[in-house]
Symmetry: C2
Subunit: 189 residues, 2 copies
DNA sequence: TAGCACATGTAATATGTTACATGATTGA
DNA sequence: TCAATCATGTAACATATTACATGTGCTA
């Protein structure tokens, strides 16, 4: 049911075609929030339109239909935003993997954590570029669409990076204590 | 497809019945990683068993079947852990809502952010209790199952709390600048 | 003019939710 | 003994993925 509100929310920010919305779901920011394929998006747009929450605002070449949110749609979106999110529905494969790290041998866990650390650093570099480009715009319009989300994303990656460093430290600390070959084996990687 | 590995991972930590696994998916830590209902869990356990990745290790009263992971299952789990997670599949309703905050009026956004701030502080209090209870155990066995996950959860809530404070500040800063009634209206809440 | 990106649609399959269904054990 | 919790199963429905399908407009 959230796909409906995800689409409504994106259209509340700016009008777009199904194609453009599909691209947004593939793009970097939407990566952390929601995801859908075009085969799901197009039928849902039809439903939203027949419910009067969005409407075709422009027809372009190649059969392109640009949708805009209606007043009624904006109201429905606002209503949903003020309902209590049911936090019971999280499904995050990456976090699942973090949970399951503890089922691995310490050397294996350390290898993976090192990869995650590297990955989070790469992502932070990427984010830095986004902030550099959008910075001036976000300075003048502080509540613009991407800004809040990007800042949340940046902080989340920092958290992941710091946590990975801490976890690696924990593994090394444990290895030092028991004095087995684990530490040496893991540190040669 | 991840449910399979979620179950395998939980069983790698300790043997459990379908009922116990269902409870784990409803529990606090699993809230942030994965979620499933018993109607999905029982059939998947049957499949895992017929694939030889888990086996019934004990039969108890009321038809209880406790499953244990097999060597083969442990291998499959490890293999999955080392595959690259496809980060394209995130679906997190809460983060979606954070994204869509910017579609609201500043006063509405501020109201919601204040609620999120409160919620994150409550969650951190809860986490503090978990750490208090499990602390001694985690001190002696640093890589135990819940520890890594709990620490990640704690840090994530801190990040949310700090981000919410920052976002509220941004809204207030914008309101001060334009000098309209927005600030007063929002600050009376 | 050929290849690529734009642009949409739908059918078959897989995954996940809600609702219906049944029965056993335990503790008040 | 009765209510709650333990314990599992499955059918109907909703949601999401993969694969198949078709055609347009731009640009090199």
């Amino acid at each position: 049911m959230s796909l409906r509100y995800a689409l409504l929310g994106l259209l509340a920010d700016e009008s777009a075609s199904g194609y453009v919305l599909t691209k947004k779901f593939e793009g970097s920011l939407q990566h952390y929030a929601w995801h859908a394929k075009h085969s799901q998006i197009y039928p849902e747009l039809s439903k939203l339109a027949s419910d009067g929450l969005i409407e075709v605002s422009e027809e372009g070449p190649r059969g392109r239909r640009t949708y805009a949110i209606t007043d009624s749609g904006r109201e429905v979106l606002r209503g949903w935003m003020f309902t209590r999110p049911d936090s019971g529905g999280v499904r995050n494969e990456f976090v699942l993997r973090l949970f399951l790290l503890a089922t691995l041998q310490p050397t294996d866990a350390r290898t993976l954590l090192t990869a995650y650390l590297q990955e989070s650093e790469n992502q932070l570099d990427q984010m830095a570029k986004i902030f550099e480009q959008a910075g001036p715009e976000w300075e003048s319009e502080p509540m613009s669409f991407g800004h809040f989300a990007a800042e949340y994303g940046r902080r989340s990656f920092e958290t992941l990076r710091d946590w990975a460093r801490w976890a690696i430290g924990e593994i090394d600390r444990a290895a030092e204590k028991d004095g087995s070959g684990t530490r040496d084996a893991s540190q040669t990687r």
